[in-house]
């Protein structure tokens, strides 16, 4: 009882106090805190290495970073070797192999990563001597070993393999290739082929030429004072030899004269990756660099215009952003999102709407003020990390910025006006001279995107940005789809020969990731059909039997013996006849001659076949040989339509004077499976009972 009273009292009390405050009033901020930015201490070694020290004793740890100010280089046919040089540095010294280096670093709980443009390392400050000792050994007693290069190459190639399924990686490659072009180092793409060409010699040369103290900036941050820092650096890196480092100049990549739409086909995609990008000339410390960053934050920062439009207003995406990179050679503007396939066109439209809006109309002062406050706060939050202070000092040196650039940053930021923002947008956002890159299901997305291209055409490219060849010739006058199919039947031996085929038994096999996949297809007239897929000769993945009326499915993908019904049954019926193409002229079928399209660099007649069951398939018949070389079927997956492509090659004559493809390559998105015909038996013994479950 007492408890209940207490509760009532508490409820009353809270209601009472609840009434006391006016929650509708948003609290006002207190006086703005002063943001202090101290200059780091700095000194230079005799070999030209410039060193900055930011002491901060909050945590008992220390971080050391090195930045080498080198121009990027062209890597020829061995793209990737500069990066690999950076990785190799951590894998060997004259006295230590990789395992010993790893053991040393882990033993003190430290972390060390190296790259071609420097290193980053951190540890507890009580182990700073050990940390500097290993860093010194890595840089001064470097030894590159073949076994480590081989290992890195193998790993890089495996990594590239996984990227083939990564739509963002594909978009990144294409963007590099288009925005910077192949005459600029930023446009170089690492592929399996270029990795194969990397040699130890290339890496050694790069290291010896470019990894030098006189182009280096080092920062020591954390629990260390200047005196100790000087002693440590002098001892570790005083003997590092300086040398002349070559400089390189490149033609600055220009934006396209008119906007181009570029599509990479990824038939399995459930989303489209959209990138709208072009090169920009924006150097660090440029007079309008701060206004440009305000503009980009307003347009494409977190919870900014792009995000609010595409995500919060329309729910097209999990996030839409833009990025404006500053760079001494050439920077880049990129607006990007991942959107579901069906709204690709609408999303591009909203992107362009926002890109034009920030240029064409002056942004409301209140909105700009909000961004200024946000960037002001971000600056303070950034200072929490002492590394920031060091990197500011390095930027000033490296890019020749005014000494007080960051000290004046907040003042300069506060003075950015809506007019400055618009001017920056007009200079750095060029929707009329951009690449609209979309990686997704081309069949669904390409056509509606054509209107955004100045040429009115969508360019299809591969995952490295190379054009996929387009068709050239118009269709011959009088050609019909039925004629193309008839030509095909003639090409594979003619109807007469095929009518003599009463049964057929085909065995195919493929190897995949160390496994052997076997496929057997058996057919008997009028329409008995069986297919069986086996893994490693034992495990039945899927078996389908059709006796002309009913079909049953079993195996790992369909445990038990399930009866097939509905649409799939109808499709089975259509495929079960001895030569399905011979039925294409029958009632219920619809053929549509789409035009000439390229398949594997050859011209083909493309025909859309609609089956009586309603399912559709696009088929490609070689213009010269008449043979069918490809079938593409789109199926409804749980996340939308998914395309499956079968390429039919290596037609050979078999018993009965008929031609049969001996190789079938099934492509499911970026994965493919090549099946070789191992055995074919024409008119072997079969009986109807074989096709009963």
């Amino acid at each position: 009882m007492k408890k209940i009273f207490l509760m009532l009292f508490l409820v009353a009390l809270s209601t009472w106090s609840h009434a006391q405050i006016d929650r509708s009033k948003r609290p006002q901020p207190g006086p703005a805190p002063e943001i202090k930015l101290s200059d780091p201490a700095s000194f230079e070694l005799a070999n030209g290495l410039k060193v900055f020290v930011v002491q901060n004793n909050k945590l008992p740890s220390i971080a050391v970073s090195l930045v080498l100010n080198n121009d990027p280089i062209m890597e020829g046919n061995a793209v990737g070797y500069v990066n690999m040089t950076g990785e190799l540095i951590r894998t060997g010294t004259k006295n230590k192999k990789k395992a010993e280096i790893d053991a040393y670093i882990d033993q003190i709980g430290a972390s060390v990563s190296t790259s071609a443009s420097g290193f980053y390392a951190s540890s507890l400050s009580k182990y700073k001597n050990e940390l500097f000792s290993i860093l010194s050994e890595l840089v001064l007693e470097t030894e590159f070993r073949q076994e480590e290069l081989d290992r890195l190459k193998k790993q890089t190639i495996s990594g590239l393999q996984t990227e083939k399924d990564d739509a963002n990686a594909i978009a990144g490659n294409v963007r590099k290739a288009l925005v910077y072009g192949n005459n600029h180092p930023y446009g170089q793409i690492t592929t399996e082929k270029t990795v194969e060409n990397i040699t130890l010699e290339l890496c050694r040369n790069y290291f010896n030429t470019y990894y030098r103290p006189n182009v280096g900036y080092m920062a020591l941050v954390g629990d260390i004072n200047v005196e100790d820092a000087r002693k440590l650096v002098e001892k570790a890196f005083g003997a590092w030899q300086k040398a002349e480092v070559p400089k390189h100049q490149y033609l600055t990549p220009a934006p396209p004269s008119k906007t181009r739409v570029v599509v990479v086909d990824r038939p399995v995609a459930v989303q489209t990756v959209i990138n709208i990008a072009h090169p920009v000339q924006l150097k660090p410390g440029a007079s309008d660099a701060i206004a440009a960053s305000v503009m980009n934050t307003l347009l494409g920062g977190g919870d900014a215009r792009l995000f609010n439009n595409l995500r919060e207003k329309y729910g097209f995406t999990y996030g839409a952003y833009s990025n404006l990179s500053r760079n001494n050679l050439v920077g880049q503007f990129n607006a990007y999102a991942q959107v579901r396939t069906a709204v690709t066109d609408s999303s591009v439209m909203q992107f362009l709407f926002e890109l034009n809006r920030v240029r064409d109309s002056i942004s409301p002062a209140k909105e700009v003020q909000g961004i200024l406050s946000y960037l002001n706060g971000s600056f303070a939050i950034g200072l929490q990390n002492p590394q920031t202070i060091a990197s500011y000092a390095i930027d000033i040196e490296r890019y020749g910025m005014p000494k007080d650039y960051y000290r004046n940053y907040l003042k300069a930021l506060a003075s950015v006006s809506p007019a400055d923002v618009q001017a920056a947008a007009q200079k750095y956002v060029q929707p009329g001279q951009a690449y609209i890159i979309c990686v997704g299901n081309a069949k669904s997305i390409a056509e509606p995107l054509a209107k955004y291209a100045a040429s009115g055409k969508v360019e299809l490219v591969d995952m490295y940005g190379n054009a996929v060849k387009a068709p050239s010739k118009p269709l011959p006058v009088g050609l019909t789809a039925q004629k193309v199919v008839d030509n095909y039947i003639t090409a594979i031996g003619g109807l007469k020969a095929w009518n003599k085929v009463k049964s057929i038994d085909i065995s195919m096999s493929a190897s995949m990731q160390n496994m052997t996949l076997a496929m057997q297809v058996r057919k008997m007239r009028p329409n008995f059909f069986e297919s069986k897929m086996t893994l490693n000769g034992a495990m039945v993945i899927q078996q389908v039997k059709f006796d002309g009326e009913k079909a049953f499915e079993s195996g790992m993908q369909a445990p038990g013996n399930k009866e097939v019904s509905g649409e799939r049954l109808a499709q089975l019926k259509e495929g079960a006849t001895m030569l399905p193409e011979a039925e294409y002229g029958s009632t219920g079928y619809q053929l549509n001659l789409l035009g000439i399209e390229m398949v594997n660099d050859k011209e083909n007649y493309a025909i859309e076949v609609t089956f009586p069951s309603g399912s559709k398939q696009t088929e490609y018949y070689d213009v010269v040989s008449g043979l069918k070389v490809r079938e593409v079927r789109t199926e409804d997956g749980p996340e939308g339509p998914v395309a499956q492509t079968s390429d039919l090659t290596d037609y050979r004559e078999v018993k009965g004077k008929i031609l049969v493809p001996h190789k079938t390559t099934i492509q499911f998105g970026p994965r493919s499976l090549s099946m070789e015909l191992k055995n074919i038996e024409v008119n072997g013994k079969m009986k109807a009972a074989d096709f009963k479950p």
């Binding site: 709980g109 977190g302 919060e312 909000g370 099934i666």
Partner: protein, 438 residues
């Protein structure tokens, strides 16, 4: 957990690490049951305001999975006094950043603001707790956004479905077996009332920890906290918490998953003790032995020497009811998943039979110490650690003292942990293979 009246403020001073100053903090409880924790750090003029709600995917109804994560989205939609779409904007326009995340056990919201905006942060979080807008328009929009999140993170990303596939086989009974992002069908069929009920049940002061770290005036902070949170009534509804325990596994679970990937992957998941359990520390160190740093056994033996994997790692998922040690490897090109799996199993066997060296133990302790120090590099990290320690282990001061539990672990403890938990019977094994064809 100790009960502390709101009038009794405890100043917690604890012996810390050798060099690091102990993290000082104050903790107390409001009359409505909300727990508050304050840490002052004046080195940068910023403050992290965080609220952690003890509701995660494990509290969901089996037919309504994805609710906890959905709320993480919904509760940025606005409140009685904050218009739709204003929540994020308000933080940003005041120089701050914000975000949130959802786990199996809890949902965590935070803002990092200039220190003169502490009151704003408190007001905003109190709006979220007291009267967030649960409206159709917000629900509809966030449903679409969550579907895109799912497509982006799970369906359009190689190996994106890995955690879901693993957890559903690891937990047959316990709700940890259900996906955090949940079922889109469940979200589609949920009615507005159900969202409202969920909010009224879990988003209540007695189910929350408010943790603040940064450049604050403690006295002023307390006044504002009382003003904005002290007056919020208790929810009072019973808060459903799963009591079901996952029965011990008696035989290995093995399965194959086909995914849109190029290279096969192998997953082993082992059930291990809950976070805070004394044995957890030994298992945690065991996972570091296997995969932290390039000299770790997985990295050194499987990636570098045998070159069977592109990547292989061991990840402890520290959870309230049962933790999981997740081992995950992607094969190198030309290597089969069986080969990688046997290489991983060899490492388990080795640590079960051979005692690790004194030197290895020292290495692990150095790594643990380094991890503790790095976790405290930012105010938001400190606020989150304090909050988590209080919520799960009843003592925020573990931020200073938990390292002692690691120091007590012996070489024998690590071997024992391997023998007890890295067993075939306690294991779920999954092979991820590229989808052959449709």
């Amino acid at each position: 957990m100790k009960k502390i009246g709101s009038w009794l403020l405890l100043l917690m001073l604890a012996p810390g690490l050798q060099a690091q100053q102990a993290i000082k903090f104050e903790k107390y409880e409001l009359k409505n049951g909300m727990r508050v924790i304050l840490h002052q750090d004046k080195s940068t003029p910023i403050v992290a305001v965080t609220v952690s709600y003890r509701v995660g995917s494990k509290n969901e109804h089996p037919d309504r999975t994805g609710f906890a994560h959905f709320f993480e989205h919904l509760l940025f939609e606005g409140s009685q006094h904050i218009g739709r779409g204003e929540y994020m904007k308000m933080v940003k326009e005041n120089g701050g950043t914000l975000n949130a995340n959802t786990s199996f056990d809890r949902t965590f919201y935070f803002e990092i603001l200039p220190s003169n905006q502490l009151e704003l942060g408190l007001w905003m979080e109190s709006e979220r707790l007291l009267h967030a807008k649960i409206e159709d328009i917000g629900i509809e929009t966030q449903r679409e956004v969550v579907k895109e999140e799912r497509r982006q993170r799970y369906d359009n990303t190689p190996y994106g479905g890995l955690l879901d596939e693993t957890m559903k086989r690891t937990f047959k009974v316990h709700p940890y077996g259900r996906s955090i992002i949940g079922s889109m069908d469940h979200l589609n069929s949920a009615k507005r009332d159900e969202f409202y009920d969920f909010y009224k049940t879990f988003y209540v002061p007695e189910n929350a920890v408010l943790s603040i770290a940064g450049d604050i005036d403690i006295k002023q902070a307390k006044i504002w906290i009382e003003k904005y949170f002290g007056s919020i009534p208790r929810g009072g509804r019973p808060i459903p918490r799963p009591t079901v325990k996952e029965p011990a596994q008696t035989a290995e679970v093995r399965d194959t998953v086909y995914d849109n990937i190029q290279l096969p992957a192998v997953v082993h998941s082992f059930k291990i003790p809950a976070r805070g359990a004394s044995e957890f520390y030994a298992v945690d160190m065991l996972t570091k032995l296997l995969s932290q740093g390039q000299s770790s056994r997985f990295q050194k033996n499987i990636v570098d020497q045998q070159q069977k994997a592109l990547f292989v790692g061991a990840f402890p998922l520290a959870l309230e009811d049962h933790s999981v040690a997740l081992m995950f490897g992607i094969v190198n090109m030309g290597v089969g998943p069986d080969q990688l799996e046997s290489a991983m199993s060899e490492e388990y066997e080795r640590v079960k039979t051979e005692l690790i060296s004194e030197q290895e133990l020292q290495k692990l302790l150095n790594q643990v110490e380094n991890d503790f120090v790095s976790a405290n590099a930012r105010v938001e990290g400190i606020a989150e650690s304090l909050s988590d320690y209080w919520m799960w282990q009843g003592d925020p001061n573990l931020i200073n003292t938990e390292i002692e539990s690691y120091r007590k672990v012996t070489r024998e403890d690590i071997r024992k942990a391997a023998q007890k938990y890295l067993t075939t019977n306690n294991r779920v094994t999954l092979h991820f293979l590229p989808k052959p064809t449709n």
